[in-house]
Structures are given as C-alpha cells and as structure tokens.
Symmetry: C2
Subunit: 254 residues, 2 copies
C-alpha cells in the first residue's frame, strides 16, 4: 500500500516505521514544521511536504497522526475526494473526517508511543471506518503491522481511551510524584523499579482487584497515619495518599 | 545458618524459600494457625511449632514475618536472650524487638511478595541492626539471598515504604478501578496490558517526570470533559480522574 503520513510526532513516527517495516510505501510525510517533516520523510524514504496543497492524490491511505485537538483543523484543510483517510485519536469521532473524504475511519493505537522507542513494538490497534469495504481494507493494513487489531466504534474507543489514561497517565504521575519525594528525601528512586515491574507484570495472570495489598485494604490506620505524617511537607502527595487510600477502602468495604 | 521463621504468610513463605535456596536451614516454622505452620514447615523441611514456648533456642536468626501491626505483640511473647531477631516490616521501628533480645534488627523486602510467586525472585532487601556485628551478619545472610541489599535505618525504611505504597498499592488500585470500569462497559481490560507494561518498563531508562503524556499535561480540556462525562456513572473514578489530572497539571505548571 502507498501511505501519506500527516504529522511528525510520536504516533506518526512509530506508525510510519511499523508500516514501512510491514512492506508499505510511505510516499509523503506532511508536517507544519518543515524541518521535522524533512527529517521523518528522510528516514522513511518519502518526500517531505510542507504545503498541504501538495499532498499526493494517488495514495491508498492517508494517516492523520496529529494531537487530538488538531485533527478537525487538519481535516478541514484537506480535500481527498474518495480516498481513505483515518485519524489516530482516541477521543475524536471519525465523523470529523467527513469534510475531507467520503471514505474515512480511525486507526487508534492503544499504547503510549514515543518516537525513540527501540525497534517496532507490537501495538494494539483499534480500527473503525464508515463503510464495510474500508473497514476490511483497514483490517488488512492494521493486521500487517500488528497482531492485536480490534474493531471499535467511537464510543468504545473513547471508553478505552479513558481506561488508558487511568492505567498509564495516572500511574506514571504516581511514579513521578514518588520520584520527586525520593529525590527530596535523599532516597534512590531506582530501588523501587523491581516493585514497579512486579505490580504491572503480575496482573497478566490475575485480576488487580484480587491482588490489592497495602495498609489501606488492611485498614491499618497506624501505618497510614505514620505515612501521612511523613508526607506533611508534600501537600499534593499527602492529599492524594488520603484520597487513594479512601478509594481502596471503599472498593473493598462496600 | 539456622533460621526460625515466625509467620506463615506471603513474606514468610517467599523469604524462607529464598533462604532455603541459598543453602540455609529452616529449623522451625511458627504460626498461630497450626495447619498453615504445618504446611509451610513441611515444604521447608522444618518442624512446625504452634506453641510459642517451643521455639528453639539454638538458631542463628529469628525472622518475624507477620503483619506490621502484629510485630510488637509477637515480640512481647518471645524471649530469645541474645539471639539475633529481625522483623520484616516497613513501617515498624527495630526498637520494638528490644523486649525479646539484646540483638535485633530488620530485614525488609522492598517488594510486593505473594506466596504463589513462581521461583524465587531477586528481592531488594533493606537491612538494619542495633550493633555493627549484627549488621555485618545480616548483610551476609541478606547478600546470600539477594543481589540488592542496602542498609536503611527506621526513618529511611519508613520513607521507602511510603514510596512503595504509592508506586505499588496505588497503581494497582488504578488498575482495579479501570478493570471494574471495563467490565461494566463491556470492554476487554486485557487489551490494556501492553500499555500497562510499557509505562512501567520505560522508566527503567528515563525519569517518569519527563515521560508524562495524556490530556492533563497538554491541558486538553475538551478531552478531559469528555472523559468525565463518560465516567458520570462511576463516581469514585470520576472524582479521582479530576484529582489526578489536577495534580498532573500542578506538577508541570508551577
């Protein structure tokens, strides 16, 4: 297949790499930032495009990989006739692409992608399209770059996006708060890495609800009070410690 | 070394297994629950003890692996003369062991241990003792069962325990809330596993503060509002979504 990549960020970089590895041709990379477009295009054997009017009209798939909030604005500038165009956003309806083509859909990676990822990871992909033919074509393309492809409509994709924010953005924030606390207390945050990996890994084999441990589920007020006292100089962490402990207690004592 | 294990739970099971694998003799396993003591003792080639007065007086190390809140009560029942006794609790001072021996300390695993763990994991161990000789002996024993041993006093151990609760108990709770939400929304929670693993793994190579992504750090109110709307029937999750998003915003916009 011949692909045009619209965007130069993390998702554009990783998905275009995965597509190239799967044997697809990246014909153009469009980016508002000319230098970024040139750089990504060079590594994909593609032509860089800075003027949106110069986007090729003979590709098979147009992949809009820009931030969720920018999808609609980019779509409004495109005129692709009946060419299949997809965006990669978790929280945006496929319908915002109606303005630029009669054939449109979504290819949403349910993964936290970074341009500098080593190699090409196997990314869970959620796909959607406005016609059965387009969905079949997307299934074929998505299936060529990932072993984990599922069809998900706007509502389901948005729901999974919420869940993704909870298990990735919020957990990463807890790591960041703990790191800050360790730094300011003269502790080595790296010591916690085996624990962090264990907690994430073990839910491959069991329900997190059944695996909960810690002072909150034991209703161990002595330990909780001691911890809150220790966090007295970390107001944000102190506050979240109480809220999350309370939430754990609520889940198991209803 | 000859060890007596006091306790039959997750920590007692995993640490006694690790000690046995390292070539130490488990001579006795004491537990209030006779059946549990018999079962763990059998698998460690040790004698089960149900009556605390029958605990052997000729072991080299007495390991009290009971819940944090029960350590003091168990210590009060023991009389070990000058034998080295340690507890395994993150939030308990070593001094509560003074009542049962003149030689006491701590061997605290900075890991979430479960009896059913496959094999013997390499556990980060924090050690402490009231004399230099005891600390040297503990370092030797701990070093024989783990490659990651550090000395940490009461205050430092308590601080690391707080950090451990944040990165393990609280993240697991977020997984549990997301699982509950997926189940009630007809979504497959398993689809999130690659994302969960990626977020935990990538901080091996970078600071979580620098790796933060998601709508909160982008200050993307459109997405956040849509997510909160979707969580309207999940009050606890809705509440925590707002609090954690706010906390992310605070970290990066101060």
């Amino acid at each position: 297949m011949r692909l045009v990549i619209i965007g130069t960020g993390n998702v554009a970089t990783v998905l275009s790499h995965a597509a190239q590895q799967a044997g697809h041709d990246i014909v153009q990379v469009y980016g508002r930032d000319a230098a970024k477009a040139a750089s990504l295009a060079a590594s994909r054997n593609a032509l860089p495009v800075h003027n949106i009017a110069e986007i090729s009209s003979d590709a098979d798939l147009y992949l809009i990989a820009v931030s969720d909030g920018a999808v609609a604005a980019v779509a409004a500038e495109l005129n692709l006739g009946n060419k299949l165009v997809v965006h990669t956003a978790g929280s945006v309806s496929k319908d915002v692409l109606k303005v630029c083509s009669t054939n449109y859909g979504v290819l949403y990676p349910l993964q936290s992608l970074r341009a500098e990822m080593p190699g090409v990871p196997d990314i869970p992909l959620l796909i959607d399209a406005n016609t059965g033919d387009d969905l079949a074509l997307l299934q074929q393309i998505a299936g060529s770059i990932s072993s984990q492809v599922q069809i998900a409509g706007d509502e389901q994709r948005l729901q999974l996006h919420v869940a993704a924010v909870i298990v990735s953005n919020f957990t990463n924030h807890l790591y960041a708060l703990a790191e800050q606390y360790c730094q300011q207390s003269g502790l080595d945050f790296r010591m916690l890495q085996p624990l962090i990996s264990e907690v994430a890994d073990r839910i491959k084999h069991g329900s997190p609800k059944d695996l909960q441990t810690g002072p909150a589920i034991r209703n161990d007020h002595t330990t909780i009070s001691r911890h809150l006292q220790l966090l007295r100089d970390f107001p944000q962490l102190n506050y979240l410690y109480e809220e999350l402990s309370n939430s754990i207690w609520l889940m198991y004592n209803k």
